[in-house]
């Protein structure tokens, strides 16, 4: 290990177990959530809001456990995640190609840029009826919707990242013998990686939003479908259990993603 490497990874000099410290630190960071829990329970107990609207958290938890053990929840979660990850993966593949093409080739930029600019501010959930007409009620319509929603953040991230590459890096690589395609793969993509990964993070969040909202309207399974059908049936504690579970999965996905991202970009904050 080099001297500089050791310096760069300077761990905080805390007495005691660093792991324990990490857990305490995280607990402290998320402690404001307890305030929300208190407000929730307080409002419910006070009678200001009916317990129908804000079921007590114990009931929600037991409903959660029931659905988890029954397998209902996991089955629907698996269905939803397979849709959202298919759409997201497709969006990352196509978005990267489009963004890099725009950044490196003028014709691609002239062709794609106006489309990006017009569709960027459009709420993608407005397309739900359209994709339903096109592709019916099957998985394809949800995957397409998620794909469309996730596409633009990836395109924009890849484009901005690749456009902003320091030209001296490209010139250095070329003068060391790299060809044009090698420059793209070995210089432009890694240099654009911070912005690409940020774009993909936005896309990840969009994929969850579109997954749930499309399943509200066009699905016969999935967590979005569960939420809407439990709500329609007036089974609110179970509905809240699913909502909180979806929120937790989204949070976990984002945490895992940022951990991977930090690892990938350790050269930057080293």
């Amino acid at each position: 290990m080099s001297a500089a490497g050791a310096q760069g990874r300077a761990a905080p000099a805390v007495p005691g177990s660093p792991r324990l410290f990490g857990i305490l630190d995280a607990a402290l960071r998320y402690s404001p959530l307890l305030v929300l829990v208190a407000i929730w329970e307080g409002l419910g107990l006070s009678g200001l809001v009916s317990r129908q609207m804000l079921p007590d958290l114990g009931t929600i938890l037991s409903e959660f456990w029931r659905m988890l053990v029954g397998g209902d929840l996991l089955y629907n979660t698996a269905r939803s995640l397979s849709r959202s990850f298919s759409g997201l993966a497709l969006a990352i593949l196509v978005g990267l190609a489009a963004g890099l093409a725009m950044a490196t080739a003028r014709p691609a930029r002239l062709l794609i840029n106006p489309v990006v600019q017009i569709f960027y501010p459009m709420p993608k959930s407005a397309l739900i009826p359209v994709v339903m007409i096109w592709l019916g009620l099957g998985d394809a319509s949800k995957v397409l919707l998620i794909f469309l929603g996730c596409l633009l953040p990836v395109v924009v991230g890849a484009y901005n990242g690749a456009r902003g590459v320091n030209p001296f890096l490209i010139w250095s690589a070329r003068s060391l013998g790299a060809g044009r395609f090698e420059v793209l793969r070995e210089v432009i993509v890694p240099a654009a990686m911070p912005e690409i990964l940020n774009g993909c993070r936005t896309a990840l969040a969009f994929s969850f939003i579109l997954m749930v909202s499309s399943e509200f309207l066009i699905a016969s399974d999935g967590v979005g479908y569960m939420i809407s059908s439990l709500g329609d049936g007036g089974i609110y504690p179970a509905m809240f259990a699913v909502i909180f579970f979806v929120a937790a999965i989204g949070f976990a996905a984002d945490r895992i993603y940022t951990a991977i991202m930090r690892r990938q970009l350790r050269w930057r904050n080293a």
């Binding site: 500089a4 890096l169 250095s172 060391l176 090698e182």
Partner: protein, 278 residues
């Protein structure tokens, strides 16, 4: 003065084929819409020998970096021609490697990976590459920092790593754009001596851009003094110092006299440039 512009190279440049680099009436203008073009280089002609260490000396804005980028093939030649033994320069190529002023290391690669990059590109085998990377990292005094990322190094250390990356591939033509500008005085001196020694061990064409008179005299066999607006070569001078140069060269009478002479010539250019601006 214009007669000096066409002065033939001191060594081995008589036959065009043997020439390291031939620059033939190259003119370069920067154009921006709605403004008159800025002539960065005006009819530059220069022959640089295959084993010549040539310094381009001049005030900032004289187009010396532009000339170097043209030699590198990074910007297209507008008028005139640049030829090397490999033919006309139209694009970058591994036989013409460059060291930029700063910030040209790949920030996502460690020092070792940066140095290995060029070696692997030029088809050197894995083990040989590793050995050469080790040698050149040692040469620029970065042993122990092989696995550090550029963001963990000081500016001077980064620059030394960039120099190692370029020297390791042993290019036929070495282009250097004020490579030691970011270094502190002591390191700068050491690197100058090392560069001269490397060049002597493995002679090649070096084109070295600087605005530092002493650096140019210490390193080069010939010096082109450039003027700005438009960028022209005003004088080409031989440096009649011994091939072997070191600490004592700097104290020699010849070195001091030549430096003073060149300083006066550069000063004329700088004064003229300032007047032009007022």
């Amino acid at each position: 003065m214009s007669a000096l512009r066409q002065a033939p190279a001191a060594d081995g440049a008589a036959a065009p084929g043997a020439s390291g680099i031939r620059i033939d009436t190259v003119t370069h203008a920067y154009r921006s819409p709605g403004r008159p073009p800025v002539i960065a280089l005006d009819r530059i002609s220069l022959d640089i020998g295959p084993t010549e260490f040539h310094a381009l000396l001049g005030p900032s804005g004289c187009g010396k970096s532009t000339l170097l980028y043209l030699l590198g093939g990074f910007i297209p030649v507008q008028e005139g021609a640049i030829t090397t033994p490999k033919g006309r320069v139209t694009a970058p190529g591994p036989e013409r490697s460059i060291v930029f002023q700063n910030f040209a290391l790949f920030p996502w690669k460690t020092v070792r990976e940066n140095v290995l990059y060029g070696l692997r590109k030029s088809g050197v085998g894995r083990e040989e590459s590793e050995a050469r990377a080790r040698d050149f990292i040692a040469l620029v005094h970065l042993t122990g920092f092989e696995d550090a990322y550029p963001s963990q190094l000081s500016g001077g250390m980064q620059q030394r790593a960039a120099i190692a990356r370029t020297l390791a591939v042993d290019p036929k033509i070495l282009l250097m754009d004020e490579p030691f500008g970011a270094l502190d005085a002591q390191t700068r001196r050491v690197m100058q001596e090392e560069l001269r020694a490397i060049w002597q061990r493995s002679p090649k064409t070096v084109v070295f851009v600087t605005h530092d008179v002493q650096e140019a005299v210490f390193l080069a066999d010939r010096i082109s003094i450039m003027s700005s607006r438009p960028g022209r070569i005003q004088h080409i001078l031989d440096v009649p110092l011994p091939k072997e140069r070191g600490e004592d060269t700097l104290e020699s009478r010849e070195f001091i006299q030549l430096s003073e002479h060149i300083w006066r010539l550069v000063r004329e250019q700088a004064v003229a440039a300032t007047r032009g601006r007022l």
